[in-house]
Each structure stands twice: as structure tokens, then as C-alpha cells.
């Protein structure tokens, strides 16, 4: 990845944590010694409205401050956006699409008539309900992203994320344990074509 910048786009709905996921992933990338950016797309701020967030990851300093139009990886936190938002917009043939759904990758490909790219699916909502007691698909999707991208060392990233969550939720250790388990499960359960 020398001199190359990996660009990622996250799709979600207001309140689902697309921005938080992008920030968490950027933080994890920094812990792995990478240079990174995480930024949201700001439209009307309403719960449930389609939102996007972005990452740039590189081994070298990143000076670009323009929007991302052809991301290598697209992550969809809410499958109900498919067909309403063109989630594959700008996705190159060698790109990766990761969707939070119970459907198989081939079904997703068929549903949106996707030609190129490689599709991954994982039931992040189900995992988060089981492990965290609430539907917060963003942290399990981090696990799926780590698996699909192979970009960062999984164990190291998991450890760093645990340290960060421990700081944030010092009074609620059960939240940390649930998040970590959810990330691990999504990493293991994500399906590819």
C-alpha cells in the first residue's frame, strides 16, 4: 500500500453510528501506525435519514481534503438503504462491498444488479442484539471490515479497541465485553462470495 491511500465510505441512517464507526476505525488504524482521516458527510441531521461517513488510510501522511467519490470499500450499516441510495456509486471493479444483512452475498449482488466488486455480508444487527442487547451494528461491522480488508492486524486492533472502550465506558465494563465479542463474531461470521 506504499504511497497509496485506501478510501472507505460508510452508509447508514442518522443515529446508527456510521460516523462513530469511521472514527473508531481511523483510531484503530492510527494504533497500527497508519496515517488516517475520518470525516462525515453533513446533510440534514435527522434520526433515520441516510448519512455517509468516510475514511482515508495510508502508510504516508494524507494531505487530501476533498470528498471521496470512488472508495475502494463501501460498508452498508442498514440494508434498507439498498435501492434507495446508490451504495455502489463509484465502487471500482476490484472494490469491496460489505452489507449488514441476513442475506447471502449473491442475493445482495442480484438485488442491486451489481457487476464488479466483491460482496461480503454479515448479520451485524443480529450479532449486536445478541451480544450487546441493542441494535448497534457499527462495532460488529468493524470486525467484518477488518476481515474483508485485511488491512490491520486483527488481534492488535481488537486489543487497542478494548483499551479505548475501557476508557470510555469505565463504569460499564459489560458494554466493553459485549462490543469486543460482537467484533470477534462479525470477524468470524462475515461471508464472502
Amino acid at each position: 500500500m506504499e504511497n497509496e491511500i485506501l478510501e472507505i465510505r460508510w452508509h447508514g441512517r442518522g443515529g446508527q453510528g456510521a460516523k462513530t464507526a469511521a472514527l473508531l476505525f481511523a483510531d484503530a488504524a492510527l494504533s497500527s501506525g497508519k496515517h488516517m482521516q475520518a470525516f462525515p458527510e453533513y446533510g440534514p441531521e435527522r434520526m433515520g435519514a441516510p448519512v455517509a461517513a468516510f475514511n482515508r488510510i495510508s502508510d504516508n501522511p494524507i494531505t487530501l481534503h476533498c470528498g471521496i467519490t470512488s472508495p475502494k470499500i463501501v460498508i452498508v450499516l442498514d440494508a434498507s438503504l439498498m435501492g434507495k441510495v446508490n451504495v455502489a456509486d463509484g465502487l471500482p471493479n476490484d472494490g469491496i462491498l460489505i452489507v449488514n444483512t441476513t442475506l447471502a452475498p449473491s442475493e445482495i449482488r442480484k438485488n442491486i444488479s451489481l457487476k464488479g466488486a466483491k460482496v461480503y455480508t454479515v448479520d451485524a444487527s443480529g450479532i449486536s442484539k445478541k451480544e450487546m442487547g441493542r441494535e448497534i451494528p457499527n462495532t460488529p461491522m468493524l470486525g467484518a471490515l477488518l476481515k474483508a480488508s485485511g488491512l490491520l492486524d486483527f488481534n492488535l486492533t481488537l486489543k487497542e479497541t478494548e483499551v479505548k472502550l475501557n476508557k470510555k465506558f469505565a463504569a460499564k465494563p459489560e458494554i466493553v465485553a459485549g462490543n469486543i465479542k460482537a467484533i470477534k463474531r462479525a470477524y468470524e461470521e462475515v461471508r464472502s462470495e
Binding site: 472514527l23 488516517m36 482521516q37 475520518a38 470525516f39 453533513y42 494531505t63 487530501l64 481534503h65 476533498c66
Partner: protein, 388 residues
């Protein structure tokens, strides 16, 4: 140094925590809200000794800053756009009273239409109020500039208010890698504020806010003009000292592949980072492209910039605001004026871009270079990225 991931707003709030000002008076406005919101939490958590004044408007915020600074306090605030506009009435009073108030200003379009995104209209409209203005390309510069701002503003030769700006959302809400300096080192670096005059010093009483008509108003404006000249020396000194202590270089501007460039863009703020990528690509295809990134817009380093740009074939000045004067944006008119006395003047063209947060990308900046390589074939003032 501590390596962290921070947004521009978080970086500025962290710098404020480390500076630990005596007084902060602010009113929240997007996209600067987070700065004072995070700082208010630091106050509530007892991480700073600051007296936090939650006021009812930006006009009151700046008025409270003026009052507190007149009493000798180290004072900070943060705002954007309409918030800065509501402060306009008080801004020149702060400079006339020689109060080194430090402001985090997040560049945002001015209404109307209503828009929360980045351009430089708010800051540029405040350029003639006697405030020092420093622009930041990224999160790191926002942090470093804010620390240096304390030293610059409070220098006895300067004693002027200062605003450090970042680009709204692009930097304010964008997370990047940040090298933070350890708390005790920052504390030592900025030092204690020792005001020469204070309203509370009954041994040495002073008059503040007096009426000053045709008799002495002019004489009392001249020291502000002199202080702005002095600020040029101090900004360079502080920048050199910062580089010696912390390794990162700061002057009036940054030169990017400029020395041997035939064609150059002049840029302020976050777009300069994107321009660097455009320049790298043009260089790879054999075009001698370069950039002068302005960091300090007030005082304007006219002579220094003229020296850097004279002899180039063509210059494109990129403005993220318009002056509605029909003859070019605020940066353009300064640059063209700075080059007026040069013997070997380049052709100079203006490109107004990015109003209301309109994206500016690598291709567009490469197109700007393409335009100025055809010297004399483009209009003097151009608007790019706008629908016809």
C-alpha cells in the same frame, strides 16, 4: 509528543485546555460548537481553572471577552459565520484597546442562503478590524497555531487580538493524526500572562472605552497599525522558536515546490493540502507547478510574498470568498497589489472556489494550472465548480 486521533475542533479544545485561560465567554454555533462544548466539559470536570461565561449571544461573548481582558485576564472564545458577524461590532474595540483575546474561528459561509459549510467569507469580512488572522491547513496546524497565538498576541510589541481559523467541517469535524505536546511543556511554553494594565489595578488606574473625537482618534489608531507591523517580527520569532522546541516549521506562509516553479497557486486553508496532491501529479508529468500557502493573512506579508512570486510565469490566486467588488476576491486583490512594484511580474489570475462548502478536488486544481499555463487566455476573475 503524544500521538492521538483528533478532529480539528477536538484539537482546538485540547489546546484550550492546555492553555488554561482565565476566562472563556462563548455562544455555540455550528461548526465551532464542539470547541466550546468540549471545553465546557473540561471546566465542569475541573481540568482547568477557567471562569466559563455562558452568554446569550456572540455579541455578549465578545463584550465579556473585552471586559475580562481589560481586567488583565487571559481570554479565549470560539465562533463561526453568523456568530463572528454578530461580534463584528466589538472586534475593532478589542484591537483598539490592545487586548490579546484569542479566538478559535471555524470558517463557514455567511447567510444567505442559510448554509453551515466552509468558505472564508466570515473571516475575510473581519479582516480589517485589527485582528491577527492565522489560517490552518489541517488539525495539526490548528493545534500548533493556537499555542503560538498566545505568544504572538501577548507579546508586548503586539498586544493585539488574534483569530486562528480552521475550515468548517473539512477540518473542524475531520479526524486526523495529531501530535500533541505534553501538558507541562505547553504550560511552560505559553508562560504566565503579565498584563501591563488592568482595570482591577487600583494603584495604576486607567480609562477604558473613552470618547475620542477629531482631536485624538487618529493618533490612537496609529499604535494598532504599528503593532500590526511589529506582529510580523513576532510571528516569525515565535514560529522559529516553536520549530526549535517542537520541530514543526511555521512562518508567514509555506512554500510547496515553489522555488523552481513556473506556475503557482496561492491557497489558504484545507484546500492547500489537496493542491499538494495536484502539484505532485503535475510535477510527475513534467509541469513545473508549485504553491504558496498563506498562513498569516493579517498582517499581510506583502513584501515577502512578492519576493517569492516575482519571476514566475503565472500565478493563480484561489479565493474561498468573494468581495462583490466585480474585480476579484480578498486574497487576489492583496496579492496583485503586493506584486505591483515587482519588475518581473507574473500574470495573475483569480479563481473563486468552494463557496458554501462546494468541494474542490485534485482535478479542478489541475485544471486551474492548465488555465494559467495559457497565459492571457482566461478572464482575470474565474468562478470554478459552479453550475452555469
Amino acid at each position: 509528543m503524544i500521538t492521538v486521533a483528533k478532529t480539528g475542533n477536538e484539537a482546538m479544545a485540547e489546546a484550550m485546555r492546555q492553555i488554561n485561560p482565565d476566562v472563556v465567554a462563548a455562544y455555540p454555533i455550528t461548526p465551532a460548537t464542539e470547541i466550546v462544548m468540549i471545553f465546557a466539559k473540561y471546566v465542569a470536570d475541573g481540568l482547568v481553572d477557567t471562569e466559563y461565561i455562558p452568554v446569550e449571544s456572540e455579541h455578549s461573548a465578545m463584550s465579556a471577552c473585552v471586559g475580562a481582558a481589560s481586567a488583565g485576564a487571559r481570554v479565549m472564545t470560539g465562533t463561526s459565520s453568523q456568530g463572528l458577524a454578530l461580534m463584528y461590532e466589538i472586534l475593532p474595540i478589542a484591537s483598539a484597546l490592545r487586548l490579546p483575546i484569542i479566538m478559535c474561528e471555524v470558517n463557514r459561509a455567511i447567510s444567505g442562503p442559510i448554509n453551515i459549510h466552509c468558505d472564508h467569507s466570515d473571516t475575510m469580512a473581519a479582516r480589517d478590524f485589527g485582528w491577527i488572522q492565522i489560517f490552518s491547513e489541517n488539525t495539526q496546524e490548528a493545534y500548533d497555531n493556537l499555542l503560538q497565538a498566545v505568544r504572538i498576541a501577548e507579546d508586548k510589541r503586539v498586544m493585539l487580538p488574534i483569530m486562528v481559523t480552521t475550515d468548517g467541517f473539512i477540518i473542524s469535524h475531520g479526524m486526523e493524526k495529531l501530535e500533541m505536546i505534553e501538558d507541562p511543556i505547553v504550560k511552560e511554553y505559553i508562560g504566565e500572562k503579565k498584563p501591563e494594565y488592568s482595570l482591577l489595578d487600583i494603584e495604576k488606574p486607567t480609562t477604558v472605552g473613552a470618547l475620542d473625537l477629531t482631536d485624538y482618534y487618529f493618533e490612537h489608531k496609529m499604535p494598532v497599525i504599528e503593532a500590526m507591523k511589529n506582529a510580523k517580527d513576532v510571528i516569525l520569532e515565535v514560529g522559529k522558536d516553536f520549530e526549535k522546541k517542537f520541530g514543526r516549521q511555521y512562518g508567514f506562509y509555506e512554500k510547496y515546490k515553489l522555488d523552481d516553479a513556473e506556475f503557482a497557486v496561492v491557497v489558504l486553508g484545507s484546500a492547500s493540502g489537496t493542491a499538494k496532491v495536484a502539484i505532485d501529479q503535475l510535477r510527475a508529468s513534467g509541469v513545473k507547478a508549485g504553491m504558496l500557502k498563506i498562513r498569516v493573512f493579517r498582517p499581510f506579508p506583502a513584501e515577502e510574498i512578492a519576493k517569492e512570486l516575482t519571476g514566475k510565469k503565472a500565478i493563480a490566486v484561489m479565493d474561498r470568498s468573494d468581495s462583490f467588488n466585480t474585480c476579484g476576491g480578498p486574497v487576489f486583490t492583496e496579492i496583485r497589489s503586493a506584486l505591483f512594484d515587482s519588475q518581473n511580474k507574473p500574470s495573475i489570475t483569480n479563481f473563486v472556489y468552494g463557496l458554501g462548502g462546494r468541494d474542490i478536488n485534485v482535478e479542478q486544481i489541475k485544471n486551474i494550472f492548465e488555465s494559467i499555463r495559457n497565459v492571457g487566455k482566461v478572464p482575470v476573475v474565474n468562478y470554478i465548480g459552479v453550475r452555469q
